[in-house]
Symmetry: C2
Subunit: 423 residues, 2 copies
């Protein structure tokens, strides 16, 4: 199997705030994922500041490598927005005003009973000969410019929702026609929780050595490790068969440590299990402060299975809202097996739910002791007649401990629902 | 005032997962912010896949531009981790094994009663002549390599907590000594909530036209707009005076729409106000599902002011946990002013707190109607004898509506605490 020639583009992200570390570039992630699903690869991503000459040069180099570039950022109405000027400089075109877009903006403001701020006028400017991509969610339209000397450049606003709308409505149709991607990228994910990267690599070493022509990558997160298998050959059918076989072998080997075969949050997997079984969930969170409830309600339709959540940050709330006994808090403390069990059982009772999860721990940075260092977390799952409890001592700072606790508690619930938890 | 020559570095992020859009590059954001605080500017960030020749070429180009490059990713123990090979290729050095690091790894595993997985051995390899940067949190050490022909390259693992530990312990001391940054970057932030970018720009147009030699940037987020003022001159003292004056003018003009003068979450600002006033907070969340509670407990010490949170996702929970009346739910529905008010007052009562915030709305994608479209959110703040209520119809998808609702509710609480809410 020889690798198929996949169409490639480059991404350029523009904005001083990205180089200053004030903003994380989630746009590039989203565009890359969207393109991968279309069978278009991203060759390189480059981030530069709001400087006309630098933007022009980086864009020029990207176009020389692959003839197609997508830029985000720098299309706002304020004087630090210079991307359209850089495009005009590279393609040697004057900036002209699009009267049609001015009318659109004027009408939008009029409908809200306001005059258009004069400052928005520059957002109707684009290099002569460019195509304007109407932005339904904001005042900056996208701009597409194509010529034989340079290739195609697409400029998009940096506001994520606006950028996404323009990609779906205009950029993907344009790229499909121009690049004619033969096959969407054949890539599969095996998501695991509860096993370290090195142990995982050892457990599947023989499979990993035998997946060619597939490529296997290990993607460790703070809360688990993903395995990614990619097929880059020419036959989509052969690729799917190879991927199916490799995925089957990995799942057989890893068993319950695998929680999903797609890029989906563990909370969504658990939500699906609850819905399938017709169970409702109650949450009792101390150190995670609502993080598990938030994750469980990220998905639409969560009201089918999330009844109620309690954030019992202090001991008084643990007593009054969940009925944790004073004796337990006095004898064992709030971070204890007994307290975790009573929190889960109390939450289930108070919410009238079928199953409940509790988390109580020390997220730090203060509050640790020799017996209970920062990172000590007790979790419990009350399901049927049994309440499972577990202690883990997590590494990392406050944010990591909270995230890892939430993930571990959701994983514990998942294993309990699938019958894999004992005792 | 002429711009001071600031030392610059380039960042290179490595990993196919970044180009496939499976992972967002938060490492580059963190490093850039950390360097900015030290007076070191990031000239450019480049992201490439796990390919030896590409990594080598991008690194070469970065070093030619600024003689110092920091790379993250590709130092794991698995065969797709190729960054150390690219470094060896560029500097033309063989890879050698560091026996000291092998011993460290062996001891760490021994302490946990496990043999070191053989696969971890490659993580003790580095190009001859390089300096190993011991990693306290993981198995991949950092690698620093410096010569006259190329300059300095620092390789760091991609796992965020490990990367951060290495930057603090090794990279910053190394860069301080080598680059001798004269003055930390003088940059200030004015964070606003509740005003659009264009309106903000109009309200401060005269100030914006008059801030030179400072640079003013507008940074719109989905939940507000930040203004950034930067001083790039040579005199730190003059810079601070100019920044103080400009910040003072902006704050005077924008009044209560400004919620912070530093990169801090609105939840932390509200937490500080609660602590200062000795008040405890209760939360009653429906459509945000715990997001506000999670944000309010992100900060250490939140137990001083967060007593309890209720996630009342269904009507039964609103009734039993918060005492919302059946009549209200029947007559007005769960997304109504009356319900929001009863939720806030009920949460305050049930938690025995001083102040409470409630949110009830339609995050979508389903559940909307003509009278109450998706995005309709009622919020209430119960403080003292008055309960304030407000309705906003938010644009965007489910995630944006949840985030914007949480931000708006926190902003409403902030304005109520500062006495700026009436009626």
């Amino acid at each position: 199997v020889t690798p198929a020639p996949r169409p490639v583009v480059e991404l350029v992200s523009i904005g001083n705030e990205l180089l200053l570390g004030e903003t994380t570039d989630t746009n590039a992630t989203w565009i890359a994922a969207r393109l991968a699903a279309e069978g278009i690869s991203v060759l390189r991503k480059t981030t530069v500041g709001d400087d006309v000459a630098t933007i022009r040069d980086v864009l020029d180099a990207a176009l020389r490598r692959c003839r197609t570039a997508i830029c985000t950022g720098g299309l706002g109405p304020t004087p630090d927005d210079l991307t359209r000027h850089a495009l005009a400089a590279l393609y040697r075109r004057p900036l002209v005003v699009d009267d049609g877009w001015l009318d659109v903006l004027g009408e939008r403001y009029a409908r809200r009973g306001m005059p258009m701020p004069a400052i928005n006028r520059v957002q109707a400017e684009h290099p002569e000969g460019a195509t304007l991509l109407p932005n339904a969610r904001g005042t900056a339209p996208g701009i597409a410019l194509d010529d034989d000397a340079h290739g195609l450049t697409i400029l998009l606003p940096g506001v994520p929702a606006e950028m996404r709308g323009l990609v779906e409505a205009h950029v993907l149709p344009m790229l499909r026609q121009r690049l004619r991607p033969a096959a969407p990228l054949e890539s599969r994910i095996v998501r695991t929780a509860g096993v370290s990267e090195a142990l995982l690599a050892e457990r599947i070493a023989d499979i990993a050595a035998d997946v060619a022509p597939l490529a296997l990558a290990f993607l460790p997160h703070g809360t688990g490790v993903d395995l990614r298998l990619t097929y880059a050959g020419t036959s989509a059918e052969a690729g799917r068969a190879l991927l199916d076989r490799a995925i089957g072998r990995l799942c057989e080997r890893l068993g319950d440590d695998v929680f999903a075969l797609e890029v989906v949050d563990l909370a969504a997997v658990v939500g699906g299990m609850l819905r399938e079984r017709g169970l409702t969930l109650a949450l009792a969170e101390s150190c995670t402060g609502g993080l598990v409830a938030k994750r469980m309600t990220d998905a639409a339709g969560a009201s089918d299975y999330v009844g109620a959540g309690f954030v019992t940050y202090d001991n008084a709330a643990k007593r009054s809202m969940l009925g944790v006994s004073a004796a337990t808090l006095e004898t064992h403390g709030a971070v204890s097996e007994a307290c975790a069990r009573e929190m889960a059982e109390g939450a289930r009772r108070a919410a009238g739910a079928d199953v409940a999860v509790s988390i109580t721990g020390i997220a730090g940075p203060g509050g640790g002791s020799d017996a209970k260092p920062v990172g000590t977390v007790w979790m419990a799952v009350a399901l049927g007649a049994v309440t499972h409890a577990r202690r883990i001592i997590f590494p990392g700072g406050r944010a990591e401990i909270r995230e890892r606790s939430a993930q571990a508690a959701l994983d514990m619930l998942r294993r309990a629902l699938s019958g894999a938890l004992h005792g």
